[in-house]
């Protein structure tokens, strides 16, 4: 009687959001896509964990020691609970696992970010650039205060003037727009909910595309940026032939996107994101409210009928 909305609806809506977001974000310009995907990931993961916690609490609330704190009637709670106690207990276990997983993942990512910063702090930098004398072409940006771009001399010698400018503008865009934090959020949400893993990958790609578009704005020529990426990728591929190349794919897609005209704003897709996220939050609010009413009823029953107190 307390559950006009199915308890599982928030889980369902968050799953729909998680699975459609990577597909929808492809239709958005990179900057909007990254924001939309990160917000969607946070809402979906947050809804998932909160709903599991709500379900779990209906079981935890039936533990006599916990019920005394209310105080509420365990019998009424057990009778009105829409989910079986066993299922709710499983939810409690999953929530504990998720919290543990999130803690481990945060600690490891945090450590990795600090290690990278420590390692690169020692390289002498001119302005925001640290050059490493190494023939293998590499370039990356390291988060810090301020952040730093690390490029190998092999990479710098490979590119001409405008291409070098494109490379530096790309890495600066990562630092200026705090792309590391978007990646971190996308990673942690994917740890919480494995359904969000495709979204993490799509987000990582969109972050690179965002930096590519910023480089285009800085250099003023999309073809130069496309050429810089293609040439650098081909050269580093040959240099690191012996090393395994497990993950392929994104680089040609980046180059193709740069050779094509930039994506226009798609307000319909953005609106769809907002509507889905709002539905997610609303369904969660409804189940939270229903659970509150369930506990209120159990508390009234406890206050009205003291004989129920024993159990």
């Amino acid at each position: 009687m307390f559950w006009p909305v199915p308890m599982y609806l928030p889980l369902l809506v968050s799953a729909v959001l998680a699975l459609t977001a990577p597909w929808a974000a492809r239709r958005l310009p990179p900057r909007v896509a990254v924001w939309a995907m990160t917000c969607a990931a946070v809402v979906a993961a947050g809804t998932w964990v909160t709903e599991l916690a709500i379900l779990a609490f209906t079981a935890v609330g039936q533990v006599p020691l916990v019920a005394e704190q209310g105080p509420w009637s365990v019998r009424v709670l057990a009778a009105e609970d829409p989910v079986s106690r066993k299922f709710a207990a499983v939810c409690a276990g999953v929530v504990l696992l998720l919290v543990a997983g999130l803690t481990v993942a945060s600690w490891r990512r945090g450590r990795a970010l600090i290690d990278a910063w420590r390692e690169c702090r020692h390289i002498a930098a001119g302005g925001d650039l640290a050059v490493v004398d190494d023939p293998v072409p590499t370039a990356f940006a390291v988060l810090g205060m301020p952040g730093r771009i690390v490029v190998s001399s092999g990479m710098l010698r490979l590119l001409d003037g405008p291409e070098r400018q494109a490379l530096l503008a790309h890495e600066r865009a990562h630092l200026r727009h705090r792309h590391h934090l978007f990646s971190l959020l996308l990673h942690l949400t994917a740890v919480v909910n494995p359904l969000l893993r495709p979204l993490e990958r799509a987000g990582a790609f969109a972050v690179e595309r965002w930096a590519d578009e910023e480089a285009c704005a800085a250099v003023g020529n999309r073809r130069v940026v496309a050429r810089a990426i293609a040439r650098a990728a081909l050269a580093s591929g040959r240099a690191a032939k012996a090393a395994l190349s497990a993950t392929g794919g994104p680089v040609p897609r980046r180059v193709q996107a740069l050779l094509a005209p930039p994506l226009r704003r798609a307000d319909g897709v953005t609106a769809a994101f907002v509507i889905l996220m709002a539905t997610c939050c609303a369904s969660l609010a409804v189940t939270a409210h229903d659970t509150e009413r369930l506990f209120e009823a159990a508390m009234h029953a406890y206050a009205a009928a003291p004989r129920l107190r024993t159990r």
């Binding site: 640290a130 003037g161 530096l168 081909l234 591929g237 392929g248």
Partner: protein, 125 residues
């Protein structure tokens, strides 16, 4: 979007840091000692005096050496002979897992098909 966020001073300071990076990048790209004028050509939109100032500052930091050649000076980046920096960088990149993923890398690895596709794209360019 980003224009109004930074104050005038911060924008200027950032631009100077960026210019310093670009001068250093051009110096490394040259691969041999070059005069300041050659660097200026490689850094779009920088005045000659600005390039000279930046080169002097880089010399002061010990990152660039200046030698007399003919009537003027030539500049060269100071290389890290012990290779400490390169070793540190490789340890970051090779470790894989979280340590490699937190670096916002310019490029991911290529599969053989990717290479073919890229070569086609470059030829079409």
């Amino acid at each position: 979007m980003t224009g109004g966020k930074h104050g005038q001073g911060e924008a200027r300071r950032r631009a100077r840091g960026e210019l310093e990076g670009e001068v250093l990048a051009a110096l490394w790209a040259a691969g041999r000692p070059v005069p300041a004028a050659a660097i200026q050509e490689q850094v779009p939109g920088a005045a000659y005096t600005t390039v000279l100032t930046i080169l002097t500052r880089l010399c002061g930091k010990g990152m660039v050496t200046r030698q007399r050649e003919g009537r003027g000076h030539v500049y060269a980046p100071v290389d890290d002979r012990a290779g400490h920096a390169a070793a540190g960088m490789h340890s970051l990149l090779d470790e894989g897992g979280d340590r490699a993923t937190v670096l916002a890398r310019f490029l991911s690895d290529l599969s053989p098909e990717d290479e073919q596709l890229l070569e086609q794209l470059l030829r079409g360019d």
